[in-house]
Symmetry: C2
Subunit: 292 residues, 2 copies
DNA sequence: CACACCCTGCGCAAAATTGCACAAAACCTG
DNA sequence: CAGGTTTTGTGCAATTTTGCGCAGGGTGTG
């Protein structure tokens, strides 16, 4: 059965009993209805209607089609109702992805947002590989670094991540405090294993010290923080992270050039949906508290 | 939801994951598929797919549509299976109509035919009013008299009804036998109450006797036979009927001009269906036995 | 019995749909 | 990393579909 429109036409004819009545309901010319009926009967090789001067009377086959198409019509009506509503209400899944280092910030927000919308299921995806918005893997992504410029992605600046330079008390006891920029070469650092890291504070560090001062190198951000905590060396950490870890000593005033940008990225197809929009506005609201 | 064809297109895209794949399945150009998707999304105001270089990924709304349309597709497939088979197999209803005087002949045939086809429901309609084939009230009609010439009705001659002139033994005892055509005016007859009856034997009777000899007039054929049996007068009766009623005396040799034609009438829309055809051939086969 | 009304059916022209060719972008493979 | 493949997207022309007007026929009603 190809050409579902002809089924719909036949359905209305069976329901109305006349070609003219069906044509009026369908909003087409009655000649079109006749042609549809002739076409579907010819394709099926079955008479669906008995033609007479008063209209079209469905045969048993036509009554069978009537029942099936009636159910289909109901199904479609319900579907349209769901689809139209779905764009407006916040329900179903909300898939958010970010680097795992952001989870401390995001998880409380996601939890609160879910509690505001009982019908919502939160899927928070973090991992090494980038979850791609284009394939529908996520609705909202939190990205760091330079502004992403992927097509079909609508990207907006989220917030500047304030970065500080910290060390553990044990490190200060052992190596003494940092006495300004010129003293950097006399200390040892915890840094990223990635030589080409484009994070601004990493570039700053490469410019102001020599390679051999970075004596503890990690590929994972969380491990870096652990290393700093353990006194392995001086390391960069977001101000917000540092405030949650007691015993850290600020080694230097924060430089503006260390700041990293965070970006909120959504797929253009989903950006205008109420679900995404309400989450974004809620997230920005909560993010104001982090800035101070 | 108008335009069911677009639903079908969207269904195939959701199923295949690509526009090209859906286009191949649907047998249309991929540009058509793209336009259908754009159209249905615009009409619903909901994004059904996320577009990317690898194809179209259904959103939650698209997945909802996929489920509904999948069910619809199954329903339609089953419907087509039923419809295509329905034309071939003998099942459902078989509606036959005739004058009630034919019931003695038809009922045994109908009974046997039903037993040959367990899935069949026989509806045998008899009554004063004519059941009209055009409105789907009956599949097959058995008509007497001149050949019906209604449009859309396919008419075929069934058999000639041999008619004899009979009386009860009690009538012969009282009035004596009929001594030829010239003796008709000396007898009394059982006839129809309808002055304009076009039955050939009635016209013959009006031509060969006077009105006042028809002393028992009925509107119903069965009542006429009862009257003849009771000795009210001489009356016409089909040879087949007379042979089933003992004690009747044939008053005259059967005249060819008395014979009435019976016609099998079907609606043109149903005439070619296997159900009607197999019943007609079965009926004709059984009718051969009546001719002898 | 005649009139009015409604429904079907058909030819022709207008309109919408579709197919085609081509472009551009992304992905896979060797 | 480059070539080949697959995919979507768009302007233009051909085709199909649709709408319109009118004729024909049947039905019901006054």
């Amino acid at each position: 059965m190809e050409n579902w429109d002809e089924v719909r036409t036949a359905y209305q004819v069976a329901r109305m009993g006349t070609v003219s009545g069906a044509a009026e309901v369908l909003g087409v010319h009655h000649a079109t209805v006749i042609r549809h009926i002739d076409a579907i009967e010819a394709r099926l090789g079955v008479k669906l209607f008995q033609r007479h001067a008063r209209g079209y009377t469905p045969t048993e086959s036509g009554q069978d089609l009537l029942r099936v198409a009636q159910a289909t019509d109901d199904q479609f009506s319900q579907l349209v109702g769901r689809l139209k509503g779905q764009g407006d209400e916040v329900s179903g899944e909300l898939v958010v992805t970010s680097l795992s280092s952001m989870s401390h910030l995001l998880v409380p927000v996601l939890t609160e947002f879910q509690q505001m919308h009982p019908g919502l299921v939160i899927r928070y995806l973090t991992g090494e590989r980038l979850f791609r918005l284009e394939y529908g893997e996520a609705h909202v992504a939190l990205r760091a670094g330079n502004a992403p410029d992927q097509p079909d992605n609508v990207v907006q600046p989220f917030l500047k991540q304030k970065i500080g330079l910290f060390a553990a008390q044990s490190y200060v006891d052992q190596h003494g405090p940092l006495k300004g920029v010129d003293d950097l070469k006399n200390h040892q650092f915890v840094g990223t294993d990635n030589q080409e890291s484009r994070a601004p504070f990493n570039k700053w560090l490469r410019e102001h010290t020599t390679e051999d001062t970075i004596i503890f190198r990690c590929s994972d951000g969380v491990a870096m923080q652990e290393a700093v905590m353990a006194g392995a060396g001086i390391g960069f950490m977001s101000m917000w992270e540092a405030s949650r870890r007691p015993g850290l000593i600020k080694m230097m005033d924060s430089q503006v050039e260390w700041e990293g940008s965070l970006w909120l990225v959504t797929h253009v197809d989903l950006h205008r949906t109420n679900k995404v929009q309400s989450f974004l506005s809620f997230l920005k609201e909560r993010a104001k508290a982090w800035q101070e």
